[in-house]
């Protein structure tokens, strides 16, 4: 009997392996390679890749960038219309700075993101379809630049989904996407 609580007898390395077990291992290897390949393929052809440059930045520097962004943009009742394709948003306990921003559908923007204090999350979804959602991590000291292009007009709500203190749940911002 081959028991897991006794030392195996003889040379167990050369003992036979069931045909079905070998088949399953081959299937598994192929599946793992497919999993690997899909990420590579999506990185080239897919439209959702959280890849973009990161820069070291101090809190003061990034605060100045957000202030400059707000000043250069046009203030409206709904939010800031950015002056160019660069958007600066920051999370802080317990609010977002730079939001709400008013964007044009179908136009690509460079979203610069960071935190003024601790780790935060940037979790975004359109009001009309909660299942179309995604989340990013924001870290103090790092400015992350990700291109984004919203095709569907609507209000995209932003909440913080990294625990940042007792008031964490109250953080809210929005992208307002217009035609």
């Amino acid at each position: 009997m081959s028991s897991p609580i006794h030392s195996p007898q003889g040379n167990w390395w050369i003992a036979g392996v069931s045909v079905l077990e070998k088949t399953w291992i081959r299937i598994s290897v192929v599946w793992c390679l497919l999993l690997f390949a899909s990420m590579i393929v999506w990185a080239s052809y897919g439209k959702q890749n959280q890849a973009g440059p990161t820069y070291r930045v101090s809190t003061t520097e990034f605060m100045q960038k957000v202030q400059a962004f707000k000043k250069a943009g046009t203030q409206t009742e709904d939010g800031i219309i950015p002056a160019d394709e660069h958007i600066y948003v920051a999370a802080a306990r317990f609010s977002f700075d730079g939001f709400p921003v008013v964007l044009q559908a179908g136009k690509q923007y460079q979203v610069h993101m960071s935190s003024y204090d601790v780790q935060h999350g940037l979790s975004v979804r359109p009001e009309h379809a909660l299942s179309k959602q995604m989340s990013l991590q924001l870290l103090p000291g790092y400015e992350w630049v990700l291109p984004m292009k919203f095709d569907e007009p609507g209000v995209y709500h932003v909440v913080c989904n990294e625990f940042c203190g007792v008031g964490h749940r109250t953080m809210h911002g929005s992208f307002i996407v217009r035609r």
Partner: protein, 568 residues
């Protein structure tokens, strides 16, 4: 009464022979297994009580706690169930997989005692720090992400707990060492080998913990000026995910052990199963990278490499075990004529034994719910939709609760009967406990996954139906929250049942000869034909169903992602 729990009929050399497994058991090793196991159950109870508070807060129809209390109790829930319940059990498992399986004395029992005292002291200290956290400190939840400061006693407790665990593991390594010195040409039994791999992974994880918590503690008490958030995340996940890899490796070792002892499973290929453990040794650490997929400061190539090519060494290992363990049960039972048809070997298994049903449900639910979701969220782009949503919490409830906790509950029932030698009280309820608990817990977990992926419900929120300062809320998800709340409360009832049966049996159970409950393993004989030539077609069918579910879930997740706006 307490003394009675630690008595057994040992011979003059301090050993006894277990009537079920035939193992030669050293008195000291057995007593330490009992002490660590009992402490683990206490942590399970504390974590379970906090689960009630957490569930009744997140189910906002009740909305029990305010945010500050909620985060404190969420931290208590995390540390007791993800760390203390698991790690105390795992030290017990090392002492079973090392000295007991090898029939040796527990070396250096004083170290085991020092380790235990440090772990216990740290666990009490951390619990106290978590329950009394108040401004300017913040609840650490599990991750204590710097630079959000938590109580300095919390960081100190984490350091001491890690040191205690390393010390408690030393007697296990010494037993393996002694065995290899005395019998250099004898392979370790598979269970001892699995425990050995688990212990190495554990030491790696624990060293990562010291690298994380010592500088963080120094920062907290003012000795270091600055702590970098990205550095913290990368270091923290060595222990944060590493500790869960200990759970995985320990759980799989226990699967081999209990399917054999309770169901008559055999090892269908020593080569394949051991190679899979070796794959864990080299690749499972890479799993930690999937926590950093939505982070700045890391290149896409770093993310893809670490979560794919490298981590799939471990995914492959898990898929191999997913075949090898049920196949062992199938082949072992077929050999003795237990069930001829495709699944006859399974239906004829001892389902009324809660040790058996707990292990089988754990294998199935871990694989279908925990394993698949782990791979999904570990894909760089898919992680966008999973990161920090409640679906992530669903994933690790599938691995740690449906998988490891279910397995460890089965193991506790086994230890109560074979080591404490107590009959389980409330036998009819004990029989259904694994069915009840795993059923409702699986539903709870599924709801968390749906709520996270389909509604984007964030994790670690005291309320999502009402977000102060805005009209926006997640009220559309309310119906699923109702299912979540009811299922979670019923699952907790199943957990309470486990605690009542365990503690009640220890206190009031009749003295038991375990060979009347478990069929002694030396009677697992059969026709003597080589086990790898037995049919494994039932297992193959199961694994194909598993693969089909995997593929469907995979395609659905990419479809959901493809509907998003353009990012990157």
């Amino acid at each position: 009464m307490i003394k009675e729990l630690f008595t057994n009929d040992y011979g003059p050399d301090g050993f006894r022979t277990c009537s079920v497994t035939g193992m030669r058991i050293d008195r000291t090793a057995e007593n330490f297994v009992k002490v660590f196991g009992l402490t683990a159950v206490v942590a399970l109870v504390v974590g379970g009580i906090s689960a009630i508070l957490v569930v009744l807060t997140r189910w906002e129809v009740v909305g029990l706690l305010g945010p500050a209390d909620f985060y404190n109790w969420l931290s208590v829930h995390a540390w007791n169930l993800l760390i203390f319940w698991m790690v105390f059990m795992e030290v017990a498992i090392l002492y079973v997989g090392g000295p007991m399986v090898l029939g040796r004395k527990l070396p250096a029992p004083k170290l085991a005692m020092v380790g235990y005292v440090l772990m216990l002291g740290a666990a009490i200290g951390i619990n106290w720090a978590l329950m009394t956290t108040s401004a300017p400190d913040h609840a650490p939840v599990l991750t204590s992400y710097a630079p959000l400061p938590s109580s300095e006693w919390f960081y100190l407790g984490a350091i001491v707990f890690i040191l205690g665990t390393v010390i408690a593991a030393l007697p296990f390594f010494a037993a393996i060492w002694q065995e290899k010195v005395e019998n250099p040409n004898r392979s370790l039994p598979l269970v001892a080998f699995g425990a050995f791999i688990t212990a190495i992974i554990a030491v790696e994880a624990l060293l990562g913990g010291l690298i994380t918590y010592i500088p963080t503690y120094m920062w907290r008490i003012g000795l270091l000026e600055h702590i970098d958030a990205a550095w913290y995340r990368q270091m923290y996940w060595i222990v944060g995910h590493g500790s869960q890899q200990i759970n995985l490796a320990a759980m799989i070792t226990v699967w081999y052990f209990l399917t054999h002892v309770v169901g008559g499973a055999e090892v269908v290929s020593e080569k394949v199963s051991r190679s899979a453990f070796i794959l864990y040794l080299f690749f499972i650490n890479m799993g930690a990278a999937h926590h950093l997929m939505a982070d700045p400061a890391l290149a896409a190539s770093w993310k893809v490499w670490n979560t794919s090519y490298a981590a799939y060494g471990a995914v492959l290992a898990s898929m191999i075990h997913a075949f090898a363990i049920p196949a062992g049960l199938e082949a072992g039972r077929r050999k003795r004529g237990a069930g001829k048809s495709l699944f006859g070997w399974l239906w004829s298994s001892p389902w009324s034994n809660p040790v058996f049903s707990a292990v089988i449900f754990s294998i199935i639910l871990f694989g279908f719910m925990g394993g698949i979701t782990g791979v999904l969220m570990g894909q760089m782009q898919l992680n966008l939709a999973w990161h920090n949503t409640w679906a992530t919490v669903g994933h690790f409830h599938a691995t740690v609760v449906l998988g490891t906790t279910m397995t460890f509950m089965g193991l506790v029932f086994f230890v109560i009967q074979t080591m404490f030698r107590k009959e389980l009280i409330m036998a009819p309820l004990a029989k259904i406990q694994p069915w009840f608990y795993s059923g409702f817990m699986a539903l709870t977990t599924l709801m968390m996954m749906y709520l996270g992926i389909l509604y984007g419900i964030p994790r670690r929120h005291a309320s999502v139906m009402n977000i102060p300062g805005t009209d926006f809320n997640f009220a559309a998800a309310e119906p699923l929250f109702v299912v979540f709340g009811i299922a979670a409360l019923l699952a907790i009832a199943g957990g309470i049942l486990f605690a009542l049966i365990s503690v009640g049996s220890l206190l009031f159970g009749n003295r038991l000869d375990p060979s009347t409950v478990f069929r002694p393993t030396h009677s697992w004989q059969g026709d003597g034909s080589p086990v790898h030539l037995q049919s494994m077609r039932g297992t193959f069918a199961f694994t194909l169903i598993f693969l089909a579910v995997f593929v469907i879930a995979y395609v659905l997740n990419w479809y959901l992602l493809s509907r998003l706006w353009e990012i990157g």
